[in-house]
């Protein structure tokens, strides 16, 4: 018999998840996680301005390559480390007891924690995308101006040459594909964080979660190779083939999120490709969160 005057535990699911997410976000922010953005600025400026002058394409590609590398590193490290520390810390501090002894279903607790980490990564990537875009735009204009000056000095500033230069700078400069690349980085981080959360539901320590997650991330980037090996028609069912199949099922194919190389090379991202990445990420995240819930609901606290 529950007091009917009290709020229903079922009616406040979203608000409860957001309460947990915002507490997680504040917790991580107070750990000065976003200090990485300062490091990112230094990296982006260094790749944009500190290297010897090369041709226009190389200069812009170098800036994009360095910046995307830093974005990937930030999102992967935060996705694994932040997720790995959340559950053990709450358990160690007994905060988990006070939370779960309230009318909080365990899946809402997990979703809240996950959403908190993803909000942090989202804010971090959005800020870094803004800084990256600003520097790239600035560099694009500087490169165009310097190349134009060079063309004029060599008396090669005819309409065709100028148009070719404009096209080159636009292709390798700031395009919407750069933002699509950042979105792909975010989606990859979402999959990694969901996987780390699942591991932390059965792991015995933070270190274990971090090591196993990094190990699976490395395998995930070579997952395509495992899949190709499995589908080789001349191979019979062997231990290796079974291992390849298990890896293909358990480990996410992180290689499919790596569209940044194409963007760095100046290619644009078709909307269909982005939709495919989005759908795959949603599938992986849902699957990992469901398994995480099944493990966590059985966890003895």
């Amino acid at each position: 018999m529950i007091n009917s005057a009290q709020p229903s535990p079922r009616g406040n699911g979203l608000s409860r998840i957001w309460t947990l997410a915002s507490a997680t976000l504040t917790q991580l922010l107070r750990m000065k996680v976003l200090a990485f953005i300062g490091v990112f600025c230094v990296i982006a400026v260094a790749f944009g301005f500190a290297f010897p002058v090369q041709n226009a394409e190389q200069q812009l590609n170098l800036l994009k390559g360095g910046s995307f590398g830093a974005l990937q590193l930030f999102s992967m490290v935060i996705a694994i480390v932040s997720t790995a520390i959340l559950l053990p810390r709450d358990l160690e501090d007994r905060t988990l007891y006070t939370i779960l002894s309230k009318p909080v279903p365990r899946h809402q607790y997990l979703l809240g924690k996950y959403l908190g980490v993803m909000t942090l990564i989202g804010i971090g990537l959005a800020l870094m995308d803004g800084i990256f875009s600003g520097i790239l735009y600035l560099r694009e204009n500087m490169v165009f101006a310097s190349e134009m000056a060079s063309l004029k000095a060599n008396r090669m500033d005819g309409p065709e040459e100028v148009a070719a230069l404009e096209a080159l700078v636009q292709t390798h400069g700031l395009t919407w594909s750069v933002h699509a690349g950042v979105l792909a980085v975010f989606l990859k981080a979402a999959v990694i964080a969901a996987m780390a959360l699942m591991i932390s539901c059965f792991s015995s320590s933070t270190l274990y979660t971090i090591v196993i997650s990094f190990f699976l991330v490395i395998i995930g980037h070579g997952q395509e190779l495992a899949r190709e090996f499995f589908f080789q028609p001349h191979l019979s069912v062997t231990g290796q083939k079974i291992a390849a199949l298990v890896l293909s099922i358990l480990v996410p194919d992180l290689g499919m999120f790596d569209i940044t190389d194409n963007i760095i090379a100046g290619q644009s991202v078709p909307i269909e490709a982005l939709g495919w990445i989005l759908g795959t990420a949603a599938m992986y995240v849902s699957a990992y969160l469901v398994v995480a819930h099944l493990l966590f609901v059985e966890k003895e606290l």
Partner: protein, 289 residues
């Protein structure tokens, strides 16, 4: 017929052993009930199964056998936790939050919002004497303040049952007294309390009924006054008795065939002495006052 606040029926909890280790039986065929409005003390040595029983009641652990319920609702159901507030042993909270933010966090988890949340938070800060520390980060709280904050979060959603695991562990006598007074105030307000503590003297002061656990089983259970009464003895405390009157009493007792086990002056408790001494103003202050 009123529903029991807590019902534990034939509870057995076995923890699976890790590789090479045997399973551990933490609680064995335990049954107990806590009536609505009473203060029930669960006592026993370390490892006797008290905390495990509490965790099963709160749905934090699943029973291996048997069942537990809170106001008739199975403990495994999330709904059962709407009626219960829990203070774990040595609680810690998110260090980055202030006391007020901590209570608001727990209030929101219980579905409170807006003015109701604000009012309830303020009320709990006053109740636990934390108004002056409301805007301080929890990281700077003393042990006693953390314990009182723990009590405040347990009460934030106005539960009908409060479960307290060692509520005075590591707290100084004054803080411990405050917590004991709070438990007594819960009793006056009609709340049901399930409490464990190693401080048996305090348990004796607040509990209506107690259960004594050892090695995962209940060894004694009942109303406290009945359990601790020595059946063949009667206590008589006299004020201003003269030696002559005591002599007469002795003679009368001997004449009736009974015997006097002890004659002496009743003693205050060390706790009371400590509190009187530490709450007393220094002589200089008294003069200036």
């Amino acid at each position: 017929m009123p529903t029991d606040a807590v019902n534990v029926s034939n509870l057995t909890k076995i923890f699976r052993g890790h590789i090479g280790r045997a399973p551990f039986v933490a609680v064995k065929d335990l049954s107990l009930t806590v009536k609505e409005g009473e203060v029930y003390g669960l006592i026993g040595p370390n490892g006797s199964g008290k905390s495990t029983t509490m965790k099963v009641v709160l749905g934090l652990l699943a029973p291996t056998q048997g069942a537990t319920s809170i106001f008739g609702c199975d403990s495994r159901e999330v709904e059962s936790r709407q009626a219960v507030g829990f203070l774990p042993e040595n609680p810690y909270f998110y260090k980055h939050l202030t006391g007020e933010e901590t209570l608001q966090f727990y209030g929101r988890l219980c579905g409170l919002k807006g003015a109701a949340l604000k009012d309830r938070t303020r009320e709990m800060l006053v109740l636990t004497d934390l108004e002056n520390a409301a805007n301080r980060r929890v990281a700077g709280y003393s042990k006693g303040m953390l314990q009182r904050l723990g009590l405040a979060q347990a009460l934030i959603h106005d539960p009908r049952l409060v479960v307290l695991d060692e509520p005075t562990a590591g707290v100084d006598p004054a803080g411990s007294r405050k917590i004991r007074d709070l438990i007594l105030s819960f009793k006056e307000r009609g709340l049901t309390v399930l409490v464990t503590s190693h401080l048996l003297e305090q348990m004796q002061e607040v509990c209506d009924r107690v259960g004594i656990m050892a090695h995962g089983v209940m060894v004694r259970e009942g109303r406290l006054d009945e359990l601790i009464a020595v059946e063949n003895q009667t206590e008589l405390v006299l004020e201003n008795a003269t030696p002559a009157m005591l002599e007469k009493l002795r003679a009368l007792v001997a004449q009736e065939g009974a015997s006097i086990s002890h004659i002496g002056q009743p003693r205050t408790t060390l706790e009371r002495l400590f509190l009187e001494a530490t709450e007393e103003k220094p002589a200089a202050d008294k003069k200036s006052a």
